[in-house]
Symmetry: C2
Subunit: 385 residues, 2 copies
């Protein structure tokens, strides 16, 4: 196990009806900006519940945050915050709305050009507005971590940032809120959570048995409940487990004290930035070949993954690793997330611009060993056609 | 899964040399009281490291907190805090020192008779002094939770209390600090952590696959590393895993959203209060028969425990449950913690006073179903002779 710091002060309120807790969790005299994605929170009554919980508080709504929240949109929200002297933010939505809210929380109080938050990864953030979240889409874990990813549309850049000042003060997790989600978003959420775990687990053996077993527990749970979450949209227990699994997949716990990879995410971000693929789609495309082409350095954990998660008992180490990768690919496909570039009408001619963009963003030494080069990424994309 | 609230703001600094972080974590102008158990922190240099990290801060030492910290001793510390206007506490030790420090943190600012904190379980605590911990003994999890247990020697009462104001602000976990511990304390720590997990896991099936797998991961890790932690006292990786496992066993995470038992603890507390047995010894005595005599209501989880933790694949449900209980007993014995009352020179004549004490403390409807009566506890103790 490696040395680590772990800190996560986000309060979780989990269960139906917990939106009412907002009244206790937001200061009585707060000036609140509620941030929304599309129209669903308005249509399905979630916004009304939130407004009822806020009661007499001075609050207004900013809506229209897109999937892969853009710098351009979020700067409009920053302007609203400054104009109306907002002092508390409330994100109502999935990871995109929450990520966007984190950017607003930091940018509203940032003394310099807010674009620098992204250029510097957030390391100069000295203060941020307090905020809470009402999660409606289990996937990203943003509801219980301090990271965010923002896309600059004009620059075709999707960049991560973070700060210990950007943990939500609270997050309301009500599994019932997921019943009305489109199947595609649930499928994406399953894949997103799965790959979040893999980025922190599938590296090299490092004497961290608890972290390994927690990660394997999350993966096994996703394999078990993923198909059910699609087939039975109103099965409360399944949706509850999916929601809590996705949160725990990226709240810092399973990554504390272990090496982390994240190269699949960085390469995937380029696919989203240039071609607009869903985040989970990019992960499903990249991860299988990312693991296959790095089998040598990841073999110990690949075999462990095969044996403990997929119960593959027979064969050589290489055969076990190959079988596990294919089972993972089949799992992604089984929940409806395709795993080949060609499934998204992308061909060999699209690869070079992705590699150029990766280089432009200085993503040239990725992975737990820093040995995932643009050349390797090219090879991975070629094998993912 | 049941509805839950989860909140745990304790910052963990894990690794060798992390004591130096105290300089950043304690306010520069704090008046600090360092709380210690016996002489070991002085002898092994830990106190010197802490004092060096505190630097110029106004600090003094209160030592002599006993295992099962007593109300009488801790009230002496409260007097020191009031006399010297202490505004930050620093516990350096194991669960007893940390539990005692939590009591001081609450009692120093309690407007009424501090004994009422224990009588009321802490529910009227409105403020508490801030405190941090330097953990030297992995066992109780007190370094990352808000609970405490204090013993009133004159009343022969060992009572729990807690408050969300009693999370440590930070805890320093340096596995090297455990190298010099007596074998008995490591053995007790392994059993203590194991039973903490069991109290939150071995109840009834409640659609909580992640919590179950996290609990099973901790149990499997303890089974794997327990004997090594004794045989190789300076194996850093083993001690690191033991330390982190014991913390995660009782930081609220695996118990969030699931039924909890705790009857073994409550009955065990009576054994400590009256006969002075180590906490872990009492748990090792009580738990096997507690599970056996409640097999009917716990059968589903007992079978799961047998299959997933002990890999018992054959037999009827009852045979699997029995085999798992006996394997658990053998595990406790294997690390040197005896599991029979007679091993501690206690006989049938000692049972009735324990039951009377349980009744006096109103522990008459224990367990996840509230059906663990004094009569059942008597039967359990009789079977544990």
């Amino acid at each position: 196990m490696q040395d680590f710091s772990f800190y996560n002060p986000t309060r979780i309120e989990f269960g139906p009806g917990k939106i009412a807790k907002i009244d206790k969790l937001v200061p009585k005299d707060a000036k609140v900006l509620i941030l929304l994605g599309g129209e669903s929170a308005k249509k399905n009554g979630t916004l009304d519940e939130v407004l009822a919980a806020l009661g007499e508080r001075d609050s207004q709504v900013f809506s229209g945050i897109e999937p892969n929240p853009s710098y351009e949109t979020m700067m409009q929200a920053v302007a609203v915050v400054k104009q109306h002297k907002i002092d508390f933010l409330l994100a109502v939505g999935g990871g995109s709305v929450i990520d966007g809210t984190k950017f607003v929380a930091a940018a509203a109080l940032y003394p310099d050009d807010a674009w620098q938050i992204l250029v510097t990864g957030g390391k100069h953030i000295k203060q941020a507005l307090p905020f809470g979240t009402v999660l409606t889409l289990p996937a990203t874990g943003s509801e219980m971590n301090s990271g965010s990813v923002i896309t600059n549309k004009s620059l075709q850049a999707k960049l991560p940032f973070g700060s210990s000042l950007l943990y939500p003060q609270f997050s309301i997790l009500d599994p019932v809120k997921t019943y009305s989600l489109p199947q595609k978003q649930i499928a994406n959420g399953v894949v997103d959570a799965f790959v979040h775990v893999m980025e922190q687990y599938l590296t090299y053996a490092d004497d961290a048995p608890v972290q390994d077993r927690f990660a394997e527990g999350l993966l096994q749970t996703l394999i078990e409940i993923g198909p059910k979450a699609l087939a039975e949209p109103e099965n409360y227990q399944v949706r509850a487990s999916l929601m809590w699994t996705a949160t725990l997949a990226l709240n810092g716990l399973i990554g504390a004290g272990v090496p982390q990879d994240w190269s699949t995410h960085m390469l995937g971000h380029e696919l989203t930035a240039i071609h607009g693929l869903d985040h989970a789609q990019t992960l499903a495309i990249v991860l299988p070949e990312m693991l296959r082409q790095r089998k040598a350095s990841k073999m110990t954990k690949l075999v462990q993954f095969a044996e403990r998660v997929w119960h593959i008992e027979h064969g050589t180490d290489d055969e076990k690793a190959e079988a596990a990768i294919e089972k993972m690919r089949a799992f992604f496909e089984s929940v409806g997330v395709a795993t080949r570039l060609s499934d998204y009408q992308l061909g060999a001619e699209h690869i070079e611009p992705l590699i150029e963009s990766l280089i432009k963003h200085n993503m040239v030494a990725l992975g737990e060993h820093g040995d995932v080069t643009p050349d390797l990424c090219r090879s991975i994309l070629q094998a993912s056609l």
